[in-house]
Amino acid sequence: MKMNLFKALLISNIREKEVLFWIFAFPIILLTIMVMIFGSMDGQDINFKVALIDKGGEGMGTTIIRDVLKDVSTSSEGRKALFDIIVLDDTEEARQMLMDQKVSIIIEIPEDFNVKFNQVVFFSRITAISAQSPTVTVERVALRNASTLASDIFKQIMSSVNLEAAKRMNVKISGYEYSEETVGQSENFSYADFFLAGVLVMSFFSTGFFALGNDIAHNKHIGIMKRLSATPLSIRKFMYSNILSKMLIMVMSAVMLVIFGHFVFGSSFSILNPETFPFILLGILDALAFGLFIGSISKNANAASAIGNVLFFPMQFLGGLYFEVWDISPAVRWFVYINPMTYIAAGMRQGMGIVDAPVPAYSLYLVPLAWAAVMLVISIFTFDWRGDAS
């Protein structure tokens, strides 16, 4: 009897186009969007439009700067030119272009550049008389990320030019050796794996919040449970079957997502690691507990949907599903730390060997478990199958 009901509910859910879209198709679409955007933001294609006002005339100093600018505005094999330089005579015109967002920064080589360069390089070093350094002016708009980045990059380029100049002037400069280490991960970080975990958690919770929560509220509102109570079928069995069908839908959606991620984006099967498994279970448990809670406290599907959205939106964005949130602004950090999604996603990624969670291991289990317990207790006390009639 219970199995028949479970099968009927499962089939009825799967036949709903909305369920098919939001629970099966949307996670796949979201994973595709995320991996395509973030996976390709490696800085290789980075390019800025730069206005150059060159009043420097001919001389050694300006030749060095022009060579540098020529170098960074020429594309090399497999790499786009860093700067597209637009040479202008008029400062006002350049400012207008910066104002109109036609360029990211303005680089200006002043008239006295060569004079100062010669004073610094030749005379002051010989005569020990201090001279003013030749200065290139960069104008930027600080709140435009592209403008700040372009000016930082130019500063870095000039720093390396200075280093090279020092070496050529036989200044005894030590070299430096650079090495790096990434902490808190396996050797092979992959955006596909990183987002797979996040989208999986999103998929679990959207099933719990919207499919289960709305379902329960809707069934109460239109009196399905009341009608069921007049049949030999118990409401408890109906609820169990409903919950079980949603669980199976979550598992089916997860399987589809993992297979899609693997074959399309080359994500690993590390989501199936034994260390990840407890967090998959916790994700399902919490999603169902929240779904029961929403369904219990809502009078109808619309109310459930509104409550679900109010909770789901901040929980998913401040739960580290798509980007790291541990050191986010203190004003909302408390929310990150009480949010069960944060711990489930972090635990999953730790289990997959992608990123270690920066919190004690026990909290990864304890916080989601505590939420599940609280939500279940509230649901038990607030759930009334008679709906409005009560």
Binding site: E18, F21, W22, F26, I29, I33, I37, M41, D42, D45, I46, I64, I65, K80, L98, M99, D100, F117, T135, V136, T137, V138, R140, V141, A142, L143, A146, L149, D152, I153, K155, S159, S160, N162, L163, V171, S174, G175, Y176, E177, Y178, S179, E180, E181, T182, V183, G184, Q185, F189, A306, V310, F313, E324, I328, S329, A331, V332, V355, D356, P358
Partner: protein, 370 residues
């Protein structure tokens, strides 16, 4: 005119009595503003900018002399960095991983003969920022070795921050413009799908056509309704941004109104086009949702377009939200743009809307009559 007013009032009541529609139109964008505003807008409620020096951890090898320590401290500020000293390599690695004291990356410095050995520590979770941090470390390393040799840079760079806006722009103010663009995009896209798609599905349009009312009355009353209701959402967001986050806007009101109207009309026509293609309102709504989600990430609202690969930058040029967000920053006084570009985009938006919306109305009513 009277029939238009009656239709407008009826549709207005229909929409405002729908609690879900009110929630999604008025309060959802507000939720968006609060979550993203608090999370990324500096975290303060005073609207101050979040841009400060980047904190990093540093561990000096025990054999390092004090000079290295002093040099690092003295040049860090110059490069917009703020060092925090760690007691050991292990503490540094742990600090980077757990983000202690807000550090974004870590370095260990060790002088071995003539060579300065720098080992960088990055957090795996911050993968997409790694190239930026590496460039910070490179600059720092070059600065250290030059300073240690007593070499003063020959060629200097003087960075000047230019402000074109009448009032000081803050991170949160900049973000509000993006939130408004998202709000307009969402409500514009959904407007005709709700009014036409669901009314058609529920056979309301068919019944309506059996009355003396003209189809155009319904169409333009629907459009005006959506424009009015969504404008309430814009006003709420602006009020919250001003009083809760302290954003000081310098709004160009005539441009703001034009931009709002044309952007909404454009997005309504895009929603209408989706409805013509997909017919079924739920399916159309889903497509519109996916389209909005995609636009949200690829329109320069959250990430600068210049950081995206070429193909995505090309895609962004076809997304209306890219232009709506840009225009919105301009009309709120949060950024500048070419005035000609502002008006051109608005004229194009309006032209598309004026062609597509009547066409959509005519097509749907004709289908219903047939």
């Amino acid at each position: 005119m009277k029939s238009f007013l009656h239709m407008f009032v009826a549709l207005f009541h229909n929409r405002t009595r729908d609690k879900m529609a009110v929630f999604f139109t008025l309060f959802f964008p507000l939720l968006f503003l609060i979550v993203f505003g608090l999370a990324f807008g500096g975290g303060s409620m005073d609207g101050s900018s979040s841009s400060g020096p980047t904190r990093f951890g540093v561990y000096f090898d025990e054999n390092s002399d004090k000079d290295l320590h002093d040099i690092l401290l003295s040049i860090s500020e110059e490069y917009g960095l703020d060092p925090r000293e760690a007691t050991s390599t292990a503490a540094l690695a742990e600090g980077v991983e757990k983000g202690y004291s807000g550090i974004k990356f870590g370095i260990t410095l060790k002088q071995e003969g003539d060579t300065l050995k720098i080992r960088a520590y990055y957090d795996a979770g911050d993968k997409n920022q790694q190239s930026l941090y590496k460039s910070n470390i490179d600059t720092l390393a070059m600065g250290i070795v030059k300073k240690a040799a007593g070499f003063e840079d020959i060629l200097k760079v003087d960075v000047k921050d230019i402000e074109f806006t009448p009032k000081k722009v803050t991170t949160i103010g900049y973000m509000v413009a993006g939130v408004l663009a998202i709000s307009i995009t969402f409500s514009g896209l959904m407007a005709l799908i709700i009014n036409f798609g669901y009314f058609r599905k529920e056979k309301i349009l068919k019944r309506f056509l059996a009355t003396p009312f003209k189809g155009s009355t319904f169409l333009y009353a629907s459009v005006l309704n959506s424009l009015l209701i969504s404008s309430a959402s814009i006003v709420i967001i602006l009020i919250v941004a001003k009083f809760a986050f302290g954003v000081d806007f310098s709004i160009l009101w005539p441009e703001m109104i034009v931009n709002y109207l044309t952007s909404m009309i454009l997005m309504m026509s895009v929603g209408g086009l989706f409805l013509m293609i997909f017919k079924e309102p739920n399916a159309t709504m889903n497509v519109a949702n996916v389209f909005s989600t995609l636009m949200m990430f690829v329109s320069g609202v959250y990430f600068p377009l210049q950081l995206m690969p070429d193909w995505l930058q090309t895609v962004a040029k076809f997304f209306p939200m890219t232009y709506i967000a840009n225009n919105m920053r301009y009309v709120l006084g949060q950024d500048t743009m070419a005035v000609s570009e502002f008006w051109t985009t608005n004229i194009v938006f309006l032209a598309i809307g004026l062609i597509v919306i009547p066409l959509l109305g005519a097509t749907i009513f004709k289908q219903e009559q047939d």
